[in-house]
Every structure is written in structure tokens, then in C-alpha cells.
């Protein structure tokens, strides 16, 4: 039964979750409050956390409600408030829709937000793109012919574009990223955290939040499988 959403309700809760996939072992329990950042040691489970691919076991709740208890419209509305950077070599997910240009891919989901016009959206996407290091704006090429660093930066833009943004799922977000853009990425993370967005950093290696300049709480240590 879903708990009523309050300020104390965790944005993301994993209860006895076991992810499917050969490289994912163990059971995860995790609660992520507003504005918090945590690390999850796993390999590309974003689609499972988002309720698209079935979990091996356990329950994922977002804003106090498991995916199974949501209607289609409610689920889609919640998913549009979650930004995701997908692992470039994840097991079950494409990072881009192949027959759309990168800029179309980035803006696609936001176009379905009734509160935003195409003009506003284009302006916001361009501003974000320039902030993270895409000086000429979002690439207008197909994913297959776009260089990997530009794809990584474009993924960042897509992840930060939802408004409001409840949750960010970052699967190895720095893999393939240009070093000079990392500071801008961290700045964006801090900006959205200050606005109340929670962040789950997912990777097999433990990220050094201190070295990156990310202000994590004292309990940010990797949520290792139990």
C-alpha cells in the first residue's frame, strides 16, 4: 500500500531489491531523501529502478508509491520528472532513439510536458548545452555519427532538462566525458540538489565525491549489497 507523500517521504526507496543481470549480485535497501546524493554499486540498473524492466525481486517506490500501484498516466507523469544518464554500454537499453537526431532525442520527453512550449524548451536546452560544454549547442546529427564525448554531454543535458526534477539516476555519468566539462556537470548537480532533486549515482566503481567537489552527507558511503 502506498504511503501518502509528505516532505519526509523518501524520493526513492529500494526495499529488498535484487537486480537482474549477471553483473548484479546482492540485495539492496536504500532510502534517498530530497536533495540527497548517494552511490549505488551496481551495473546499469536504471531501467529496473524505473519499472521498465522487471526486478529479480523487491520493490522500488518513488515519492512513496511503488511503480506497480501507479496508473499508466501517473507513471508517465512521474517518469517525466526523473532525469537519467544511461550507461553507454548497458545490457538492455539504447541510449538514443536511432532515427532521431541528438537534439531531437534530448528534447523529446520534455515536449510532452504541457507546461512548456517548444520555444521555451529549445532555449532551456541550448542554455544547458552551453553550460556543460557544448559550445555550438546540441548536436544536430544522428547518434550513430555523433562523437562519444558529445553524446555524453548531450545525455547530461537530457537528464537535467525535466522541470520539475525529482530524481536523477546517473549510470557511470563520467564515462567518456571530456575532463574540462566535469566541473560544469558538478555545478549542475549542486544546482538541482539545491532545488530539492535527489541523486542516485550508479556505478561499479566508487566515485570520489570529495575529489569531484560534490558535497555529499556523512552517510554517502556506497550502499553495498547486503
Amino acid at each position: 500500500m502506498a504511503a501518502p507523500e509528505t516532505d519526509q517521504t523518501p524520493v526513492l526507496r529500494l526495499e529488498a531489491v535484487r537486480f537482474s543481470g549477471l553483473r548484479n549480485e546482492g540485495t539492496f535497501d536504500l532510502e534517498l531523501g530530497r536533495g540527497e546524493i548517494r552511490h549505488l554499486r551496481a551495473f546499469a540498473p536504471a531501467l529496473q529502478i524505473l519499472g521498465i524492466v522487471p526486478l529479480a525481486s523487491g520493490t522500488v517506490s518513488v515519492n512513496g508509491k511503488p511503480w506497480e500501484e501507479r496508473s499508466v498516466i501517473d507513471r508517465e507523469r512521474q517518469l517525466r520528472r526523473i532525469g537519467t544518464v544511461y550507461h553507454p554500454r548497458g545490457p538492455s537499453s539504447s541510449v538514443w532513439v536511432g532515427n532521431l537526431d541528438i537534439d531531437e532525442n534530448v528534447r523529446l520527453a520534455a515536449h510532452f510536458d504541457p507546461a512548456r512550449t517548444s520555444t521555451t524548451l529549445g532555449r532551456q536546452a541550448d542554455a544547458l548545452a552551453k553550460r556543460v560544454g557544448l559550445a555550438e549547442g546540441l548536436p544536430t546529427t544522428r547518434p550513430a555519427v555523433t562523437p562519444l564525448p558529445d553524446q555524453v554531454l548531450s545525455q547530461w543535458v537530457r537528464a537535467f532538462l525535466p522541470d520539475p526534477l525529482d530524481l536523477l539516476l546517473l549510470e557511470s555519468p563520467l564515462e567518456g566525458a571530456p575532463a574540462e566539462s566535469i566541473a560544469a556537470f558538478v555545478a549542475e548537480i549542486e544546482r538541482v540538489r539545491n532545488a530539492g532533486c535527489s541523486i542516485l549515482w550508479i556505478s561499479e566503481a566508487v566515485p570520489d565525491f570529495v575529489a569531484l567537489g560534490i558535497h555529499a552527507g556523512p552517510d554517502h558511503d556506497p550502499n553495498t549489497p547486503t
Binding site: I52, R75, E76, S93, S94, L108, F112
Partner: protein, 270 residues
């Protein structure tokens, strides 16, 4: 639109002999739900977000505009064939004054909507199913779902509506080409002038003909779009499942066209 694999999907991948059938009542119910959802969604202005409008425009371009040359070609050839055959038999029976009405029945009621749908199935159904099935097996459908994008609204509805518009337009183009060719053919034979010929056609057309032409151009084309989306998005397994999905979608599309044609004939003329 479900992505899960069940026993029937596995049977399809393994080449079960029943693979050309719509799999049972569950799949039939799923299909009719999708068709209804597409139709309702098309009527809601808020469904027509920018990517949906873009997809619709592309669909009309691919399925309609690019098929115009072949439709003109088919219309001209069918105009010649039908005119010569009808002329010969009506002259033999001494009722050459029935040439216009006979051609209007053959072209408007039968040939135009049937050819429009055949052209759509041949040119667009396979491409659409391949595209969506490939998107499913490569994980792109999951990517869209994970971003909260409604698959019916973004993938199915603009394709089905685009095919419906294209199907209707192609049927009308076919009619125009067939009648102009028929007039030229009659002129060349030298037994009847085009004026009286067209007069006899227009005087023989009844409202049921318009209903039949538009209905049989629009409804089967819409259903072809829904079938291709349904089969394509529900493809499971690896890329080897894609060709089987395409074959299934094309056969189901032809079957839907025939069933709808029969239903319209019953409704319009009985």
C-alpha cells in the same frame, strides 16, 4: 502494448505454424484496445505535441506523397484494363450506355480502395513494422518508456492516422487517374465522346459510393497502421524475430483490408 515474453511469443520465434494468426483473444483484445486508444487520442488536441505532429507529417510523406507516382501508374493501367474489358462486354450485350456506371462501380467501389491499401501494405507496412520491431529488440522502446513518453501517442497514433490520410488520398488519386485514362481510351476507340461518358459516371454515383470510397480508404489504412505498430512493438527476442514480425504484420494487414472491405460492401449496399 506489452513487452514481456510469453509462451506464444516464444512459439513465434521458434517458427510455430500458427505464427500468422493473431494470438488468441488476449492479443485480439489488446489490438482493439490499441485501435480505440489511437482513435480517441487522435481526437484530443493535447495529444498533438510537436514530436507527434512531426511524426504524422513524416508518415504522410513516406506513405502518401512518395507513393503518388506508383498510384498514378496503377490508376492509368487499371483505367485502360477496366475500360477495354467493360467496353468489350457491354458492346457485346448491346448496353454500351452502361459503360460509365459500370466503370464507376468497378473503380470507385472496388479497385481504388483496394489498390490504395495494397500499395500501403507493400510500401509502408513492412517498413513500419521493421522500424518498430527493431526499436523494441534494440531497447529503444524501453528508453522511450523510461522517459515517460506515451507509446500510443508518440509511436502508434501518428502512424495510424498518417496511413489513414495517405490511404484516402491515394484512393482519390487512383480514381482520378483511372477515369481520365478511361476517357482517353474511349476517345481513342472512337465510339463515345468523353462528355457523355463523364455525365453517365457522375449521374450513376450515389452517396453510398462516397461512403464506401472514403471508408474503405480510411478505415483499413488506419487498421494497417495499428496492426504494424501492435506487431512491431510486441516483437520480442533478438533481431531474428524482426522478419517474422514483418511477415505476420503484412498478412494481418491484408486480412484486415479484406474484412473491412466486405463489411463496407454489406453496410453501404444492402
Amino acid at each position: 502494448m506489452k513487452g514481456g515474453k510469453n509462451e506464444k511469443d516464444v512459439a513465434v520465434e521458434l517458427g510455430d505454424p500458427g505464427r500468422f494468426r493473431l494470438h488468441g483473444w488476449d492479443a485480439a483484445f489488446d489490438f482493439f484496445t490499441l485501435a480505440t486508444e489511437c482513435a480517441v487520442s487522435a481526437l484530443l488536441p493535447r495529444s498533438w505535441r510537436k514530436p507527434v505532429r512531426t511524426r504524422l507529417a513524416k508518415q504522410i510523406l513516406f506513405a502518401g506523397v512518395e507513393a503518388v507516382p506508383f498510384t498514378v501508374f496503377a490508376g492509368i493501367l487499371m483505367g485502360i484494363v477496366l475500360t477495354l474489358n467493360s467496353y468489350r462486354w457491354l458492346e457485346f450485350t448491346g448496353r454500351i450506355d452502361f459503360l460509365g456506371p459500370a466503370l464507376s462501380i468497378l473503380v470507385i467501389r472496388e479497385a481504388a480502395p483496394a489498390f490504395a491499401c495494397v500499395i500501403l501494405v507493400a510500401a509502408s507496412a513492412s517498413a513500419m513494422t521493421t522500424e518498430l520491431a527493431t526499436m523494441r529488440v534494440s531497447g529503444e522502446i524501453g528508453l522511450l518508456e523510461s522517459q515517460g513518453i506515451n507509446l500510443v501517442q508518440f509511436l502508434a497514433m501518428p502512424r495510424a492516422v498518417g496511413l489513414a490520410i495517405a490511404g484516402t488520398c491515394l484512393a482519390l488519386i487512383f480514381v482520378a487517374c483511372a477515369f481520365v485514362t478511361a476517357a482517353v481510351t474511349i476517345l481513342l476507340i472512337g465510339r463515345m465522346s468523353p462528355g457523355p461518358f463523364f455525365d453517365s459516371i457522375f449521374s450513376s454515383i450515389v452517396p453510398a459510393d462516397f461512403i464506401s470510397l472514403l471508408g474503405r480508404g480510411t478505415v483499413p489504412a488506419f487498421l494497417i497502421g495499428v496492426i504494424c505498430c501492435h506487431v512491431g512493438v510486441n516483437t520480442t527476442g533478438s533481431s531474428t524475430a524482426v522478419p517474422q514480425a514483418v511477415t505476420r504484420a503484412m498478412l494481418l494487414s491484408v486480412a484486415a483490408t479484406l474484412v473491412i472491405s466486405a463489411l463496407f460492401a454489406l453496410i453501404a449496399y444492402l
